[in-house]
Symmetry: C2
Subunit: 343 residues, 2 copies
């Protein structure tokens, strides 16, 4: 594993390595190879759709706890094979994409660590929390660690399930790779090429840093949305107020449609960083509350201005990210090693 | 003032009276009448644009602290006249629309209460907080109260200023009227017809109730967005994290672009209901924090499910509102009294 993986840039952030390909995507696997997808929800379903839309010529196997869902996808031609036992996947496919919720994923790693370590497949996951995945791999041994590349495509939305999945879900989105201590560089390169083939910009960082960043940028906004809606739901009169909602309310609460069980699963597996974020938010809200009690409009305005300045930086970073995507696509010939098959 | 104004429905909410007109809008004033708009920002600018787009044939005067802005709008033909002294407006126009920020509006009422009471104009405002406006009118005397109809069109957005204004801003949006104790029913009818002419659905409720509802549905989401961004802005490392933001972050922080001074002004004038809302939010966040510390996934899931259920009710209420708009537009002949000139 090279210095690029944990390189720290001047701003204290791991150096990002962006990998991007165009034209006929390679997906990091042989053109006639085989991919297995575990869990055909939003992310797993979008992986299947993106592979098909990208002209992947190999086989796609899928497993899921919902057998009728698998049968319907098989009948429609999205998948080639239904697999009941995840343990059988790791030696039969080139790439296994584990798209279960966090708790189910950790159970799967614990149950099948030996098979993962002994198998020929490169294994990736898509969980929103990474330190518990790395810990499960470390508990599973060096061989499992070498074959398994923890990944997080930043491609969630409030809708879940196969029906919400889309071929373009990963286009221009980040995919963060958080390698386990003994990750195999060939396995990592294959994982990176897979996500790049689906249109994502790949970046590397340590799992703990990933979990702190996404506690702040993703998990806290989700929990704040739930907390806000919960505080309204507790009041009988509030439902009648909804006739008076404006567009600000609608935008602010959009994450409220997200799946409660899925988010409870993410939150309990990232609880320490999330509690720290809640406390920081509490401090900021406490400051605003004090200004309100004192009628201190200037104090409020100054705090709000700091917030808006950060919002401006966020909007600029988003625009810069889009520009980077365009620039990278036009310079793909500069990363030839990852357009080759890693095996 | 009839029973409709403060009628309380079975759900504890004031009965809503919806007024809607179609075709050539009447705007509650004679076709060759005169309107003055104070403050050509998002709301005032949209009033001017909507009047012009609706074929209003009378004169539009405007005043603003930004003289070059007024001169540009005059040169472009949006307005017919620049007014420097608001005190001169109330006897020279049929309708005066005060679109200043809250503090400036309260100063204006205090300074010109006698002129408002003695003038022939019906006066409306657009402030997001209504109890202080009603209080200022009560301090200004019975005559001012009779001519002034406190209004709040629910049509804000994160962008402000003339450049953000649009003719269709009020289409299908609510406009809440919160009459002062001695409001004049003819003045109210004219104000309602004005907003209905701009495309809004008019509703009535007491000012204190308005301020509690919008503290919960509008002001708290804005303050939570600022508090969240403020908690990030306080950390030097957070700006580098922005390269890793997802679409959830972007949607959740959209209100962060709003004008700090404008929102500080709203917040200090609605501080008591806002502090109560912050405390309720703190309770909900505290519940989630305790579940996190205990690793209680089931508790989190139950709290999140309550929140999502309320979100579903909000989405349904929004859809029902849209359906109501369509239904009312097709039944306009049932409210003929408001399509006539009130004078």
């Amino acid at each position: 594993m090279g210095a690029r993986h944990f390189g720290i840039g001047p701003a204290g952030i791991p150096q990002t390595t962006l990998v991007r390909m165009k034209g006929s995507a390679h997906f990091g696997i042989p053109a006639n190879g085989s991919v297995a997808v575990c869990g055909l929800g939003l992310i797993g379903g979008s992986v299947v759709r993106a592979l098909r839309a990208g002209g992947f010529g190999g086989r796609i196997a899928a497993c899921d706890i919902d057998l009728p869902l698998l049968q319907a996808r098989l009948a429609e031609g999205w998948i080639d094979e239904i697999v009941q036992d995840p343990g059988s996947l790791f030696d039969r496919h080139d790439l296994v994409v584990l798209c279960q919720p966090v708790a189910a994923l950790l159970d799967c790693i614990a149950a099948h660590a030996a098979a993962i370590g002994a198998g020929r497949a490169v294994v990736v996951d898509v969980a929103s929390v990474k330190a518990p995945v790395v810990a499960a791999l470390q508990a599973g041994g060096a061989a499992a660690m070498a074959r398994f590349v923890p990944c997080h495509p930043i491609a969630g939305k409030a809708q879940h399930g196969w029906d919400a999945s889309e071929a373009g879900l990963f286009q221009g989105k980040r995919c963060v790779i958080t390698p386990a201590r003994r990750a195999d560089s060939q396995a990592e390169a294959r994982a990176a090429a897979f996500w790049a083939g689906l249109g994502a910009q790949v970046a590397w960082m340590p799992a703990e840093q990933h979990d702190r960043i996404y506690a702040a940028l993703s998990h806290l906004p989700q929990l704040l949305t739930y907390a806000y809606l919960h505080s309204l739901a507790a009041r009988p009169e509030a439902e009648a107020w909804l006739a008076y909602q404006g567009t600000g309310f609608q935008g602010f609460t959009r994450l409220g449609g997200s799946d409660p069980a899925l988010w409870a699963d993410i939150a309990v597996h990232n609880s320490a960083p999330l509690v720290a974020e809640i406390d920081r938010l509490g401090d900021a809200l406490g400051l605003i509350r004090r200004h309100l009690l004192r009628g201190d409009g200037a104090g409020l305005s100054a705090a709000f201005a700091d917030a808006r300045q950060f919002h401006g930086a966020a909007v600029a970073a988003c625009a810069a990210g889009r520009a980077t995507t365009v620039a990278r696509v036009s310079r793909v010939s500069s990363v030839p090693s990852l357009t080759q098959e890693p095996r």
